[in-house]
Symmetry: C2
Subunit: 148 residues, 2 copies
DNA sequence: TAGCAACAGATAATGACTATTAATTAGTTG
DNA sequence: CAACTAATTAATAGTCATTATCTGTTGCTA
C-alpha cells in the first residue's frame, strides 16, 4: 500500500491529478472489486464533472504502475482491485459479489505452476485463479429456499 | 466427447440444425481455442449464408449443454473449447496463442479449493485457472533477440 | 407429410471500452 | 508567485464483441 500516491505518480513521470487520486482512493477504500462504471458512479457525487473515460484512463495509469490489479472474472466487464498482494478471487454466481482468497497465493501453487511449465514448455510469468460458487449468504438462502 | 451430437441435442429439446453441428465440429476439430469471430470466419467458406449471430447462439446452446467450455483469458473477447475435460490454460502474451494444461486438474488442486472454501465460507463449484507467459517459440525468439 | 414451434439470417441495438480534440491544469521555471 | 508548456481532462464520437429483434425458413413430431 502506498501512502503517497502523489509522489509515486510524479516520480514515474505522471501528473498527480485530483481525478487519479480520487480513483485510487475510491478503489483503496473499498473491499469490493468494482467495475470502472461502478467507480464512476461512486465518484460522481464528489466529482460531478469527471468523465467515464477519465476513470478508464486513470485505471490504465494505475495498472501500468502496478498500483492496482485488473480482474477478469468471466463477466463482460473488468473489475479492479487496489490490493496488489498475491491472492485469488471467488465470485458468487448468485449475487455477483467478488471476494478475496488470500490462502491461494504463490506459496502453495508453486509446484502446480512448475508442472504446467514442464508440460507446455512455456515460461509462465503470471496467473489468474478464479473460483465460482455461492457466497455464505447466498448458500444459506439457497438451503433455506430448498426447504432444508 | 460425444459421437452423436445430433441425438444429444434432440434429447435435450434442441433441434439438431446443420449450423449447430458445423459450429461444434469446427470447434472439436481444432486444438486451438478460437473466438466466436474466428469460428465464423472458418465456417464462412462452407456456410456462406451463416450469420455471426448464429455462431453465438449455437455456442450458447452448446455451452448450456456443457458440450463446450467458455474461456475468458483476460482478453476482451471470449474463447471456446470443445475439450470439456478438466484442465487449465496458458496464454502466450506475445503471440496470443492459448494452449491446454492438462497437468492442472481437480486432482492436484483439491486441497487449494478446500482452503479457499474454509477461508471464505463459500461453496465453490467451479474454477478457472489461467497462466500467462511466453510459449516455447516466443520464448526462444525473445532469447535470440536479446542477443543471448 | 402437414403444421408449428424453434431456428437462421439480417440487422439494429447495447454496453464496455478507446480515440480524438479542444480546453484546462499540474508542475516546473524564471 | 506568475507565466509557460506539455500532460491531462471532459465531452463526444467511434469501435468492437455480443445480444435482441423480427421475419422468413426449417427440423421434426404427430
Amino acid at each position: 500500500m502506498f501512502e503517497d500516491i502523489t509522489v509515486f505518480l510524479r516520480n514515474n513521470g505522471f501528473k498527480a491529478t485530483p481525478q487519479r487520486l480520487a480513483v485510487y482512493n475510491a478503489l483503496a477504500s473499498t473491499n469490493g472489486h468494482p467495475t470502472a462504471d461502478a467507480l464512476f458512479s461512486a465518484l460522481r457525487p464528489r466529482f460531478p464533472t469527471m468523465s467515464l473515460a477519465t476513470v478508464y484512463k486513470a485505471l490504465d495509469v494505475l495498472a501500468e504502475l502496478k498500483l492496482i490489479k485488473v480482474l477478469n472474472t468471466g463477466e463482460f466487464s473488468f473489475r479492479y482491485d487496489a490490493d496488489t498482494s498475491d491472492h485469488a478471487h471467488v465470485r458468487c454466481e448468485k449475487c455477483g459479489r467478488v471476494s478475496d482468497v488470500f490462502s491461494v497465493a504463490a506459496g502453495n501453487i508453486a509446484d502446480i505452476v512448475k508442472e504446467a511449465e514442464t508440460e507446455t514448455g512455456c515460461e509462465i510469468s503470471g496467473r489468474q485463479i478464479y473460483f465460482f460458487g455461492l457466497c455464505p449468504e447466498c448458500a444459506r438462502a439457497a438451503r433455506a429456499g430448498q426447504g432444508n
